[in-house]
Symmetry: D2
Subunit: 153 residues, 4 copies
Amino acid sequence: MPYEFKLTRLVEFAETDMAGIVHFSNYFRMMEATEHAFFRSLGLTIHGQEMESTVGWPRVSATCDYQRPLRFEEEVEIQLLVAEVRSRSIRYQFVFRMPGSEVEIARGAIAAVCATVDKQSGKLVPMAIPEHIREAIQPAPAELLKPFASGRS
Amino acid sequence: MPYEFKLTRLVEFAETDMAGIVHFSNYFRMMEATEHAFFRSLGLTIHGQEMESTVGWPRVSATCDYQRPLRFEEEVEIQLLVAEVRSRSIRYQFVFRMPGSEVEIARGAIAAVCATVDKQSGKLVPMAIPEHIREAIQPAPAELLKPFASGRS
Amino acid sequence: MPYEFKLTRLVEFAETDMAGIVHFSNYFRMMEATEHAFFRSLGLTIHGQEMESTVGWPRVSATCDYQRPLRFEEEVEIQLLVAEVRSRSIRYQFVFRMPGSEVEIARGAIAAVCATVDKQSGKLVPMAIPEHIREAIQPAPAELLKPFASGRS
Amino acid sequence: MPYEFKLTRLVEFAETDMAGIVHFSNYFRMMEATEHAFFRSLGLTIHGQEMESTVGWPRVSATCDYQRPLRFEEEVEIQLLVAEVRSRSIRYQFVFRMPGSEVEIARGAIAAVCATVDKQSGKLVPMAIPEHIREAIQPAPAELLKPFASGRS
């Protein structure tokens, strides 16, 4: 029952902007890619089928504190920590670091709700997290979860 | 000395994802587009020149709470409010609404620091906000600024 | 029965890359945005419903010749010309220009096939262009359509 | 003196659109990522320094023919072939395939010109390809390079 996962990525050219650094919106894509790789590492998929319904994880909130810029072809390690598991939602924390270093580049969080797409309306309807997903993950120990400078954990 | 700005956008196909809704990372691009349009409305640019130096606004933090999904070809109005002006940084709040409606789609915030690109090192160095920018904006009245559900304002 | 449409856009920060210019992949998003605005101008939508089926326009080919770079906050006018209408596909040409100028920034083309999403398999299946769409557009006169330097028109 | 390179990628959620498939513009980002990985495999970088000048590779043209859609979490292998090396430009061909299969997903091409950023004007000025780059690569044998259906090779 893991509560942690690490993904290493190389910054791509298309992720940079004219300031010469990774555009701030792309940190959210990197967090999401880490979340999805975490699911795959458990034999799960973030966009699966449960009893003929499509299950997805729309976001309730997302946040990022930026400490150092990231540049083209730099490597970054993104650490995912499961911060909280509720009946219908999961909250993750993420820390971006230079690989092999304790120096933080950024720190973020995403809260996502488990939802199914109603076939008639096409709308997303919250649902209880399927048992086999709930059993596969657990929250990280509290001492690993640091509060954000701004109060949003 | 305005403290508010509104931008209306139409959701583009490339902003959606396979869940059929705007990808959550694109809300941050919409917030930034609103910030930049706010600057242009004041005769300023977010990426300008001050005494032979390039001045930019790297992000310190960004956050978004998602309430309702946005779909292709839907119109969205993004309201920017200046939440705080400090000596070297500005904090904005954003509210996403259906145009002509009070129904909120999302609510976000960005804090950005004024910085110049050091010509030798290429690094971003924080600097005092130029006087003509500081004079052009002011914080919104406190009663217009609502706290985030999660505590980050 | 129009065969032409023009869209004017302002280059956004997130569209640039570390070379300080619009990333070449974003020209394809601008072409698509112009195609979709063309459809809306005719009272159509590119992602509509026909007799309970979702109709879309997956791309068969896309190409772009780049002549001049585009920079942040520059205005660009994108001219769409309908190059060919076949039973199940449409081909467009696009010319990017500085507004009010004949100077070309880029020139591109997209060929798209009309397709419906099969509800069982989720696969895209080509279909005849619906009559009301076919009636709403026509190919541009041949003299307006210039061949590409490289032979792909 | 290699003329070929292969990169394998997993389709990310943010690369899909509401049609449930990879957005057509993202194939160009995948081609570019393959080009850059090819350069790294030779000990080079696509955005390097030559005698105090920044050297880049702005695109002259880019094209893609789409044969099969790509979906979330599918693996794709992108094969790069050097199609032509001229004094100031390089042309690449790309073939997208399911790994371990001959079935083609897409086929594309990019032509890029070697350029340096003029420090005064900030403009991109074409230049001869540096000798150590020219020596590191060579064109693929003609029989490996297939013409595009549409004539642009």
